[in-house]
């Protein structure tokens, strides 16, 4: 299974990871169309929790925990683990009870209050060999763990 590791010392705070995360999860996969015609917002709709405090920044995504509390807490099994070990979220099953948000120790699951369901959660970019955030990080602050 792919694993992403982050390094705050290398993070420039450019937030390109978020822009490319949203693009990778859009219909068109085209950076212009994603934000122009598909209506995504680059910094809101990503699967990444970006933090900034003074000069320190980092971008954190789901850790795909071995003993994932979000799977245990999910009332509908919308949160599940696939055969590879990736923790995934099925929007169709989600009812927006926010139990996953309550138990995720990393705070990386984002709620969509309007549609009453989890808005975004890192899926390690499915079939893509390298997740979009890793590929587009200009300073190797987000890397694939080997």
């Amino acid at each position: 299974m792919k694993r992403i590791e982050i390094n705050e010392e290398y993070c420039l705070g450019c937030r390109l990871c978020e822009v490319h995360c949203v693009t990778a999860h859009s219909k068109s996969k085209d950076i212009i169309k994603t934000f122009k015609s598909e209506g995504f917002k680059p910094l809101v709709d990503s699967c990444i929790a970006f933090e900034k405090c003074g000069y320190t920044t980092f971008a954190l995504q789901c850790r795909h925990c071995h003993d994932a509390p979000c799977i245990e807490a999910c009332l509908t099994s919308a949160m599940y683990r696939d055969k590879e070990g990736t923790v995934l979220h099925d929007k169709d099953k989600c009812v927006g009870c926010w139990m996953c948000i309550m138990v995720c120790p990393f705070g990386v699951i984002k709620p969509d209050f309007k549609n009453k369901r989890v808005a975004s959660k890192c899926d390690l970019c499915g079939d893509r060999e390298t997740p979009a955030c890793v590929e587009h990080c200009p300073n190797e602050a987000i890397k694939l763990k080997k």
Binding site: C53, A73, C97, P105, F106, I109, K116
Partner: protein
């Protein structure tokens, strides 16, 4: 190995999955007094019409087949014989076991009210799918638009959510001076009360029912503790839930409020385990046993019980109360001790723009949190409680809107974000 599991909900499902990790062939029999497996907390979504058809389950469709288990639906366990190691069913059938798991959950508390008799039409509890289905039928048949909910706790709020989905108006009565009294304080409750009011509903605090007046077998009016009379063609009794432990009464399996278990979720009787809403597992903050009737705890305890039943050592490290409630677009999450009654606690609050944050600290450790309308990243607070992080220098940070890892000590943050603790 013969496994028998009494009760079939989240603790059972997690136990079964855990058993099957190591024991692929042992015989697992589950006794369920329901007619299907479903997620109890979803009954409010079901009644509100927010669930797609057949989405009330919480396992894969083929769970029972994949796990090679036998589920006896509609069966009731009536007796446990710990000496001869078998469970007796209501049809006199005896099921022998080598390992037994009692995960019978909770049942609604009944309180005596003058004039409230069993079988009175228009009075419902709200914990099972059958309750929701009957309630739905009754509302439709009688074209009801209004209801009274007795109890402003979790179940009362669940019922409220469901009725709001049916575009009904209701009054919530509670003996306490606030909604969700076990976790909320008055400020947090006020945010919900305001919303309820704006939607034509009402919360009557410090109020209970003195008398129920019926007409032709149907509920008609209530006389309240205030002396006022209230029209009520539908009454939902949501006073609370108590652990369902009647099965272990008269057996050597000891119980307080719930069934007493050790850290392996085993009761005092070897081979008999318990988990979920009927069990008194370790409460993390007090270090003592307590019933913590929430889904994630039941899942965890079930998993630990399952491992140990199959002979794989696993320990339940404790949990604390937490919950997530959203009503009328006001999401809230709470953790731990939110209304400390003794001295020695420090309470910090922040309230602005309809958001409310309350932090409770003891000995410089975070022990309780209320978040209303600001639940983003709530789980990090849970992590701080669990890790007993010293928050002496962090009090201001805990209240900020952009609370996150960067506000925490570097060592702590790095451990969880980039170091050893990056996955749990």
């Amino acid at each position: 190995m013969k496994y028998v599991i009494v009760g079939y909900s989240v603790a059972a499902v997690n136990a079964i999955t855990a058993i099957r990790e190591s024991d692929k062939t042992g015989e697992i029999t589950v006794i369920s007094n329901e007619d299907q497996l479903y997620s109890r907390p979803l009954i409010s979504y079901y009644l509100a019409g927010k669930l797609k058809k057949d989405k009330i389950g919480f396992t894969s469709k083929d769970f029972e087949k994949d796990m090679k288990i036998t589920v006896l639906y509609g069966a009731e366990a009536v007796k446990i014989e710990t000496k001869s190691r078998h469970v007796e069913l209501n049809n006199k059938k005896k099921l022998p076991y080598d390992r037994l798991l009692v995960c019978t959950g909770g049942s609604p508390i009944k309180i005596p009210v003058d004039g409230l008799k069993d079988g009175l039409k228009g009075v419902f509890t709200f914990t099972k799918l059958a309750d929701a289905k009957e309630l739905e039928k009754y509302i439709e048949k009688n074209k009801l638009k209004e209801a009274v909910i007795l109890g402003g706790g979790l179940i009362g709020m669940k019922a409220a959510e469901a009725l709001l989905g049916k575009k009904m108006k209701f009054k919530i009565l509670d003996i306490a001076d606030r909604l969700l009294a076990n976790t909320f304080d008055k400020e947090a409750s006020a945010l919900l009360e305001e919303k309820l009011k704006a939607n034509g509903c009402e919360f009557l605090k410090e109020t209970t029912i003195k008398k129920v007046i019926a007409k032709a077998g149907k509920i008609e009016d209530l006389v309240l503790s205030s002396g006022k009379k209230l029209k009520a063609k539908l009454l939902i009794m949501a006073v609370g839930v108590r652990p369902e432990i009647s099965l272990v009464k008269g057996t050597p399996i000891t119980a307080g409020r719930g069934i007493i278990v050790d850290s392996r979720m085993e009761t005092g009787v070897p081979g008999v385990f318990s988990a979920g809403d009927c069990a008194e597992g370790l409460e993390f903050l007090s270090g003592k046993g307590a019933v913590i009737a929430i889904w994630p705890t039941a899942a965890k305890q079930g998993k630990v019980a399952g491992h140990n039943m199959a002979g794989v050592k696993d320990v339940f490290t404790g949990s604390f109360a937490m919950n997530s409630v959203e009503i009328l677009g006001v999401p809230s999450i709470s953790f731990g001790i939110t209304n400390p009654k003794e001295d020695g606690y420090e309470v910090l609050k922040k309230s602005a723009d309809g958001k409310y944050k309350k932090i409770v600290i003891k000995d410089n450790k975070l022990v309780g949190v209320i978040l209303v309308n600001c639940i983003e990243r709530a789980g990090i607070y849970g992590l701080l409680i669990k890790e007993k992080l010293d928050v002496f220098g962090l009090k201001k940070e805990l209240l900020t809107d952009d609370f996150g890892f960067l506000l925490l000590p570097t060592d702590f943050r790095k451990h969880f974000v980039t170091g050893e603790g990056t996955e749990v």
